[in-house]
């Protein structure tokens, strides 16, 4: 009989666990639906970062963002013709694919250096409202080597693929980073990967129609953090001192009352 009860208790305790797992799933789903962007299953570790590498991370990314760096790839001509090749930024957030012969030959040079420089979108021309920049802007430069002469045109169109943090709207191009022109944009597989034709070096950026996720705690900074620290410490002290003390007093009072009752009953029996 005792074993049956124990087994029942064990089953109930596991049922509580299943219930809490379900509650967790429901909260994850609700948070994901209301937060305005995907969430992590457990927010913890070395700070919040995203797979996206930001030049200037938004508030919810936190301090562990891995800043993207500039980099270049050399494209060597083969028999005077540029090869079929894909080049990408060091963070792989921009990829350019060029068909064979896409780059015109240049006397005395047999290499084209493709350079990628990630830029904070606040430092280039503004995106037309109501949209906003979706991740970093990138400056793509192509220069012949060893002369250093710029590549000004592409003979045959290639394509450019950009990976962005939020659902993309349009890919934008600018020769100088001041005024943006919308490019015919294709969503590739998921809404965070977009592609367009690549016809010339310059500035590239993707915009999004999703409003920026405003920081509900913006502008409160260190004072607010200190305030929360104090509240948390106060809660710990409350849980550690006040509640146990109150419980102890209550139990002592109950024990005393029970003792009084027992003494009274004994007296009556006598």
């Amino acid at each position: 009989m005792t074993e049956v009860r124990a087994a029942g208790r064990r089953r109930r305790r596991f049922g509580v666990g299943v219930g809490l797992a379900g509650l967790y799933g429901a909260v994850v789903l609700a948070t994901g639906l209301t937060a305005g962007h995907p969430v992590r299953p457990l927010l913890d570790g070395a700070g919040v970062t995203t797979p996206y590498r930001w030049v200037k991370p938004p508030w919810y990314v936190g301090s562990a963002n891995v800043k993207p760096t500039a980099g270049h790839t050399d494209i060597t001509f083969v028999n005077g013709v540029s090869p079929l090749i894909g080049v990408n930024s060091p963070d792989s957030q921009v990829i350019i694919n060029l068909p064979a012969g896409a780059l015109p030959a240049h006397t005395g040079d047999n290499v084209v250096r493709a350079s990628f420089t990630p830029i904070d979108p606040a430092k280039v021309g503004k995106v037309a409202k109501p949209n906003r920049a979706d991740g970093n802007a990138y400056r793509v430069d192509m220069t012949y080597q060893p002369s250093g002469a710029p590549v000004t045109r592409i003979v045959t169109s290639g394509n450019i693929v950009m990976v962005v943090p939020d659902e993309a709207a349009k890919m934008l191009y600018s020769p100088d980073g001041k005024q943006w022109t919308e490019l015919p944009t294709q969503i590739l597989g998921d809404p965070n990967t977009v592609g367009s034709a690549f016809n010339t070096p310059g500035y590239y950026l993707v915009d999004t129609a999703i409003p920026a996720f405003a920081n509900p705690n913006a502008g409160k900074g260190t004072k607010r953090t200190v305030g929360i620290v104090l509240v948390v410490v106060a809660v710990v002290l409350l849980l550690g001192y006040v509640v146990p003390t109150a419980l102890k007093r209550s139990r002592a009072a109950q024990a005393e009352a029970a003792g009084r009752r027992r003494r009274t009953v004994k007296r009556h029996r006598r």
Partner: protein, 203 residues
């Protein structure tokens, strides 16, 4: 010996320290818990100190938290209702489901060995702190108080890092991890689950 004292003197996690031990000083565990929670909550300020970047600060913080939590005499842990494996599987399953539900390309640092190591250290240190030290201390109020109290504090210390919107999510996660501690009788099970949950994000 009262039944409550007997519960503290669990053979699996050690007996109550002698009265002369500084660990037995009234309120010492509360002070340590308050200090730990305060430091975890102050992470955004701490990582900006010294100009050394977040990595060394977080490694120092979590290492210290782990050391203190492990050195402190453990309380509770007797009467595990379930073997660790099913409890572990339920927790890991829930977090894996959470990862599938949340999806999306955000929220994963590049999975460098350092990031994986710090995430795992953070998970183990937090579990040692919340599910061993804090949970054990709160057991004086009963298992329900220990579960709820440690979960609330676990959620609260993350607010300054991620914003108030994580409170429900981390409270639910804390309850699940706390239940694992309760059902298995060991903080190692939620620690392993927490490590896996962190890896699910970065890998």
């Amino acid at each position: 010996m009262s039944h409550r004292t007997a519960a503290f003197a669990s053979p699996s996690e050690g007996a109550l320290p002698p009265r002369t031990s500084p660990f037995a000083a009234p309120g010492a565990v509360v002070a340590v818990a308050a200090l730990g929670c305060g430091l975890l909550t102050a992470r955004p300020i701490l990582v900006g100190l010294g100009g050394v970047g977040p990595g060394p600060v977080l490694v120092t913080l979590f290492s210290a938290l782990l050391a203190v939590s492990l050195l402190w005499p453990a309380r509770g842990g007797a009467d595990p209702a379930w073997r660790p494996i099913p409890v572990l599987l339920l927790g890991v399953g829930a977090f894996a489901l959470g990862r599938l539900l949340t999806g999306g390309p955000v929220a994963a640092p590049a999975a460098t060995p350092f990031v994986i190591a710090v995430n795992s250290l953070a998970a183990v240190a937090e579990e040692a702190f919340f599910r061993r030290l804090v949970y054990g201390a709160l057991l004086t109020g009963g298992p329900a108080a220990a579960l709820l109290g440690s979960s609330i504090l676990f959620a609260a210390v993350h607010v300054t890092v991620y914003g108030a919107w994580v409170l429900p999510l981390d409270l639910a996660a804390g309850l699940l991890l706390g239940w694992q501690r309760q059902a298995s009788g060991s903080w190692a099970v939620p620690a392993a689950t927490h490590v896996v949950a962190n890896l699910l994000v970065v890998l």
